[in-house]
């Protein structure tokens, strides 16, 4: 009978369709409004002895009228996915992690090291590499349960906050890919934004410096711009400088100190080269181009010499700030700017180990060549 079916053309078609129909029930449906779509994750040290981590999630959860009803839950277990098993017992809908956008690590757990926590983020094919990582001062749960003035979903708020500041602001890129790439690259240390709860508002108050994967220190907002600008060519919106003019011998400039100036529409090009292998000694070349939009004292900027003098002062100020920053990073033994990477790409070695570089980094010196150029001084002179 089977042979008869196979011989007849029409019956073959029917058999084919039946076989295909049988296969239909196989794939598991994930209809978007029947899921809890996790958009933010937070990792904390667990208070209990048996469990390692405590995870908080914020998820979209569609109900009858409001589609963006958010759900905030947390549970503890030993692994990130293990926590989700417990979370599933608390939620009526399946939680899915493919759309997660922000992952916050509490400071205590960050100081212990976060690479093991990012393991699942690398292995799981569901999670994208554009996820933003951040360090939360205090605990991640505290940050994620806070409310914000705009009354929007906290996960969205964090995502937009970090994204705007990374793309257009002074925070260096901190998505998962960047973090892992920097971590795995010998000679460079990752940097993550530092979230803090200030007067019931979640703000980014600088960056957290990581040594490999452990947090070792912080930089506040003023140093962030210098840090980011040293890492590559970037554009910034504004930059305020405090110039000390007491020592300057330009008679065009008043002897006021500090003189505050603000540059806008800034384009910074920076270049780091290995000058000498022994040392090692690096040449740092930074070119700042901006529009001078605000001066805190009345200065006549009609004359070219005045502008040049201000530029000189600004260059010296930035150079000084940079040296201070570099010394501080050397003391903390972290290298977020990537001098090690520059060393690696300039010198032919058989092996390059991070520990070897950390030794060399202690004795590294830099020679700065920083120039500030004001493209214009606004519409008044």
């Amino acid at each position: 009978m089977i042979i008869r079916i196979i011989r007849s053309r029409r019956k073959r078609l029917v058999l084919l369709i039946m076989v295909l129909v049988l296969c239909i029930g196989c794939a598991r449906q994930m209809i978007i409004d029947k899921l809890s779509i996790v958009i933010a994750l937070g990792y904390d040290q667990s208070q209990q002895e048996q469990e390692r981590i405590r995870t908080t999630i914020i998820a979209y959860h569609a109900t009858d009228n409001q589609a963006k009803n958010t759900l905030l839950t947390s549970a503890s277990n030993n692994t990130s996915k293990g926590v989700r098993t417990k979370l599933n017992l608390k939620m009526p809908t399946q939680d899915v992690i493919g759309q997660v956008r922000v992952i916050a690590y509490g400071e205590p757990i960050a100081r212990k090291g976060i690479i093991t926590l990012t393991d699942t983020l690398q292995r799981d094919s569901d999670i994208g590499t554009n996820v933003y990582l951040a360090i939360a001062g205090g605990s991640a749960e505290q940050i994620m349960s806070a409310t914000n003035k705009q009354q929007i979903n906290m996960g969205e708020y964090l995502y937009e906050l970090i994204r705007k500041n990374v793309n257009y602001g002074i925070i260096p890129s901190s998505n998962l890919h960047h973090f892992l790439s920097t971590y795995y690259r010998g000679g460079k240390d990752p940097v993550l934004p530092y979230l803090e709860l200030q007067q019931n508002e979640v703000v980014i108050s600088g960056v957290a410096l990581m040594k490999d994967d452990r947090m070792v220190g912080r930089l506040n907002e003023d140093d962030c711009l210098l840090l980011k600008s040293a890492m590559g060519n970037y554009k910034f919106d504004s930059f305020e400088l405090a110039l000390s003019l007491k020592e300057s011998n330009h008679h065009y400039l008043p002897r006021i100190s500090p003189l505050f100036i603000t540059l806008t529409n800034i384009k910074i090009k920076s270049n780091i080269k290995l000058a000498q292998e022994e040392g090692p000694v690096f040449d740092v070349r930074i070119r700042v181009k901006g529009q001078l939009k605000e001066v805190s004292e009345q200065i006549d900027l009609e004359k070219r010499e005045t502008i040049h003098a201000l530029e000189h002062a600004a260059s010296r100020q930035i150079a000084a700030q940079y040296e201070v920053l570099f010394k501080r990073l050397q003391q903390m033994q972290v290298d977020p700017i990537g001098y090690g990477a520059v060393y690696r790409t300039s010198v032919r070695t058989k092996q390059f180990a991070t520990e070897q570089w950390r030794d060399m980094y202690k004795h590294a010196r830099i020679r700065t060549d920083i120039k500030v150029v004001f493209t214009n001084v606004g519409i008044t002179s």
Partner: protein
């Protein structure tokens, strides 16, 4: 000397060699080849890619020279002519087993991608069945239809190369320096790791008997190989710039992970789209390999092509069901890489030399008799 069984009307334009060769090559390795080359050659892997490409060009040159000696018959006939009926059949059998292994590997590799990324809970045989039904439908039309299909499917997929722009934006090409830090043996090992990735061009041996004006095949074959080489080079360069050293080695699916960052305002996570579009390229490739296998078997045994295909399906279904885990697949992958290096790179030279010798001996013997 020639036993051309294809009527002139059904022959296909030689330009289709391009699409057939490109389809045969890119399916095997494109999604994950960076890891293996980088492990050997470090950040000079791009040099290994170029070197492997140049060797492939030489191989293609040898293949076309061999074919032109035998009036562009298919390789099965060449073996029969050189080594007699039984010797030729044994070698053809070995070749058929190789193509069967490649076909199964391509299929199972792609099913692995589907299982990891899209539908983890669907059994393997269901995916296999989907492919077999479609392949049967395409095979029924013969090489004419298969060549048109491979061309169309390539066109449909060709725009994916533009997606490389996104990882290119965040790539740091200083990772390429210092240039040529690896020594010769490392570079050579890197070339060997590229074996199966580039090695699909020996499909030329089998399809040239169906082409019109076969003396013009060589330019299309070289053009196709050049395009594939450039493609692999671009992807390798972007990977080296985008990833840091240990990342590439850590990740099993480099190209797909690289494309996770691609996003527009209406669609994100383009690796899913790439995986979907990859389906149609894999399908075209499987059609070509199935055609090659069926050609071989029907020349040795007198069976209907339909029944050969059903047998082929069953064998492949059994094999892919047996390969349940990823590391079993890795064993097959290594095996195919080694055999591909021999069959794609060295065998054309060997065959050319043997053909020259044997034909020379026969010629002299005939002259002596006269």
């Amino acid at each position: 000397m020639s036993e051309c069984t294809v009527p002139t009307r059904r022959k296909i334009h030689p330009a289709f060699t391009m699409s057939i060769v490109i389809t045969s090559q890119i399916t095997v390795g494109m999604l994950a080849f960076q890891k293996y080359v980088y492990k050997e050659a470090g950040h000079d892997a791009w040099f290994s890619v170029i070197a492997a490409g140049i060797c492939a060009h030489f191989s293609v040159f040898m293949i076309v020279k061999t074919l032109s000696r035998f009036n562009f018959n298919s390789l099965y006939e060449i073996h029969n002519q050189l080594f007699g009926k039984w010797g030729g059949s044994i070698i053809n059998g070995v070749l058929i087993c190789y193509w069967l292994a490649v076909s199964t590997y391509v299929l199972r590799n792609y099913i692995e991608v589907l299982l990891i990324w899209i539908f983890p809970d669907v059994p393997i045989w269901v995916f296999g069945l989907m492919f077999f039904v479609l392949i049967a439908y395409g095979l029924a039309g013969g090489l004419t239809v298969i060549s048109v299909i491979s061309f169309i499917h390539l066109l449909l997929v060709s725009w994916l190369i533009l997606l490389l722009y996104f990882p290119l934006k965040t790539a740091d090409f200083h990772q390429l320096t210092p240039v040529i830090e690896a020594n010769i043996s490392q570079l050579f090992k890197g070339m060997l790791a590229m074996g199966a990735t580039i090695g699909g061009y020996d499909v030329l041996f089998y399809t040239s008997s169906h082409m019109k004006e076969p003396h013009r095949i060589h330019r299309y074959a070289h053009m196709a190989l050049f395009i594939v080489n450039v493609l692999y080079l671009m992807i390798m360069l972007v990977s080296i710039g985008y990833y840091s050293p240990k990342q590439i080695v850590n990740n099993s699916w480099d190209t797909l992970t690289m494309l996770k960052t691609v996003g527009f305002s209406f669609l994100e996570r383009f690796e899913y789209i790439v995986i979907m579009m990859w389906f149609i390229i894999v399908l075209a490739n499987l059609m070509i390999t199935s055609w090659v296998i069926i050609q071989g078997i029907t020349r040795m045994v007198k069976v209907k092509r339909k029944n050969v295909y059903i047998g082929l399906c069953l064998v492949q279904l059994i094999i892919i069901q047996m390969l349940q885990t990823g590391d079993q697949l890795a064993v097959l992958s290594n095996l195919i890489n080694d055999v591909a290096i021999f069959l794609s790179f060295m065998y054309p030279f060997v065959l050319f030399v043997m053909a020259t010798i044997i034909l020379g001996i026969r010629c002299r013997r005939r002259k002596e008799h006269i």
